[in-house]
């Protein structure tokens, strides 16, 4: 399963309570759409660290990296490539 699909499934299952893929667009802002609140973002960070064996650094915790599926995928891509 791709990283994108894994993250999508996690958000759909835990915050939108549905399997319906159409319920979430990859560009939807989690915060503006009310999908996640501040603790939800924290939970997503822990999910990413567990699932993808990365460390989300302080300076990485910004909306540009974490506030949509596409942003997380791009962040993961950058992070995992940087670390070989």
């Amino acid at each position: 399963m791709s990283a994108e699909q894994q993250i999508r499934n996690y958000v759909l299952e835990n915050y939108l309570f549905t399997d319906e893929q159409a319920a979430l667009d990859n560009n939807d802002s989690f915060l503006e759409k009310g999908i996640l609140d501040s603790t939800g973002i924290l939970e997503v960070i822990y999910f990413l660290e567990d699932e993808f064996q990365i460390k989300v650094e302080d300076e990485d915790m910004v909306p540009e990296n974490l506030d949509s599926i596409n942003r997380i995928v791009a962040y993961l891509d950058k992070k995992m490539n940087n670390h070989g």
Partner: protein, 511 residues
């Protein structure tokens, strides 16, 4: 005589016209420019037919527009009703109906705004910030941009000298049947602001990063106290990214920061505060529930130079009731401190008699900050205020030095983050599902949020509804912060002989 909020702001405008009052994203708004917008809004409302005491609902996130609307309404003689922007349209429409608002000021970027406007039951004048194109009700729709360019009419601030005049309604719970709207007078707001300024010693050189919603009493008081002294309020609505918040505090060289326990828990959950240059921060304040002493000590260890104020209050008391002087923090850790200036506190037993030290009773308070009552609910008001004393519902005791310690709450409200939620708000929504026979909502402890919501659910025989389907229904009908974190299916819900849910028993089974 205590000056009203508006008079205090006007004094700041005259003293510091070019100082920054508000900073929001790329906007930096001086006191003079803020005042000009406020007067334009007040003029529009007066010319448009707002009568003294008419309610104006504000469904706008923290922003300069919120502040301009709030003060404009007060100057026009109206009553400001700030509404929770995290709430769903059905709750907001219910509150607009409950307070019989004559105007609604809203922002087109909020997802619920369209639904709210479509579902307004009666003719209400809407003032919309942002894009108007999507709304097909132009006959009673005004664009904010044209409102703030209104012709200025003469404004007489003397009308605000009546301390007993209703200024604001703050809703503390939004159950369909009985929303609780706390009525605050100009005198309530002014007196509590003065008491807060007395211990925080704010000056015009101060600046605060505010993340607390203005529609709740804590954020409301942070805003007014800073504007009253000519200080700067930097508005940031997003607490999800601690690094961003702290970087902003460094960049703006803020001198103050206020939060609820979950704000500080989130800030410290993954970040070392000591790695940021917060040398300009003079003080931090905490209210909105008990902050674990371990977190207070951690904060103090990381930022030893700041004064950390533990505070306690209630919307029904305008905002603030007690504070713990920072120099007593170590000695009296866990205490909510002593009454602020102008507030009398008695801890009473169930017969109304004052208790001795180290004996638990209910906190009862008296002072110019005690609310006028609940909007349109005399019965509830008479239960809450007896002979001028407000019964807070909070249980506490004094120590031998007169410092107060909270022992528990007699109320069933769930405290999660900055929010207070009546369990009934959630139960009403879940009970709409036909397959649910009984439901009880209650708070369970959470390291970050203080409490999160748990549901006990009894299904009808042969029901096949799943947890996910219940949560999906909640997601569709409740604000995000009201969605239960846990659901437990049970065969029955514990109740008293009179049929009242035993929430404490449910809570105890989870501790």
């Amino acid at each position: 005589m205590t000056l009203s909020l508006v008079h205090m702001l006007h004094r700041s405008v005259k003293r510091y016209p070019n100082s920054e009052a508000l900073v929001y994203k790329a906007h930096r708004i001086s006191y003079k420019n803020l005042w000009d917008s406020i007067i334009a809004i007040a003029s529009f409302l007066k010319n448009d037919g707002l009568n003294q005491g008419d309610r104006v609902a504000i469904f706008v996130e923290n922003s300069p527009e919120y502040v301009e609307a709030y003060y404009g309404i007060l100057i026009a003689g109206g009553v400001a009703v700030g509404l929770n922007t995290a709430a769903k349209a059905r709750d907001i429409n219910n509150l607009i109906r409950h307070c019989d608002a004559k105007y609604l000021i809203s922002h087109s970027t909020l997802a619920e705004t369209g639904k709210i406007i479509q579902n307004l039951e009666k003719e209400i004048n809407v003032i919309l910030i942002g894009e108007l194109a999507h709304y097909d009700i132009k006959n009673r729709l005004n664009a904010w941009d044209s409102v703030i360019r209104s012709n200025i009419t003469s404004i007489d601030l003397k009308e605000l000298d009546n301390a007993n005049k209703l200024a604001a309604i703050i809703y503390t719970s939004g159950t369909t049947g009985s929303p609780k709207g706390v009525m605050l007078s100009h005198g309530n707001l002014a007196n509590n602001m003065e008491s807060i300024l007395d211990y925080l010693k704010l000056q015009h050189t101060d600046s605060i990063l505010n993340v607390l919603p203005f529609y709740y009493t804590y954020g409301n008081s942070v805003l007014h106290t800073h504007l009253a002294v000519g200080a700067t309020c930097i508005i940031e609505n997003n607490t999800a990214f601690p690094h961003k918040l702290l970087s902003l505090m460094v960049k703006e060289k803020v001198t103050g920061f206020s939060g609820v326990p979950s704000t500080f828990a989130l800030l410290m959950s993954r970040i070392k505060l000591s790695e940021y240059d917060l040398s300009n921060v003079r003080y931090m304040t905490q209210a909105g529930g008990a902050m674990p002493p371990a977190n207070i000590l951690r904060l103090k260890n990381e930022l030893p130079h700041i004064k950390f104020f533990v505070m306690y209050g209630q919307t029904e008391a305008t905002a603030r009731l007690t504070y713990l002087p920072p120099e007593k923090l170590d000695e009296k850790l866990g205490s909510i401190g002593i009454p602020i200036k102008g507030v009398n506190i008695e801890i009473r037993d169930e017969n109304g008699n004052k208790v001795q030290e180290n004996t638990t009773g209910e906190i009862c308070v008296n002072g110019e900050n005690v609310m006028m009552g609940y909007w349109n609910d005399v019965e509830l008001t008479n239960k809450a205020i007896i002979d001028g004393w407000l019964k807070t519902g909070d249980l506490a005791h004094y120590d031998s030095d007169g410092y107060i310690y909270i022992d528990g709450r007699s109320s069933e409200m769930i405290k999660t983050g900055a929010h207070r939620i009546s369990p009934k708000e959630i139960e009403e929504v879940v009970a709409e599902l036909e397959e649910i026979e009984e439901v009880a909502a209650y708070g369970v402890e959470d390291e970050i949020m203080g409490q999160v919501i748990k549901l006990a659910v009894v299904l009808r025989p042969d029901s096949s509804i799943t947890m996910k389907e219940i949560l999906l229904h909640c997601k569709s009908n409740l604000a995000t912060y009201k969605i239960p974190k846990y659901i437990e299916f049970m065969s029955s819900i514990p109740k008293t002989a009179s049929g009242k849910i035993k929430r404490f028993q449910l809570q105890e089974s989870n501790s």
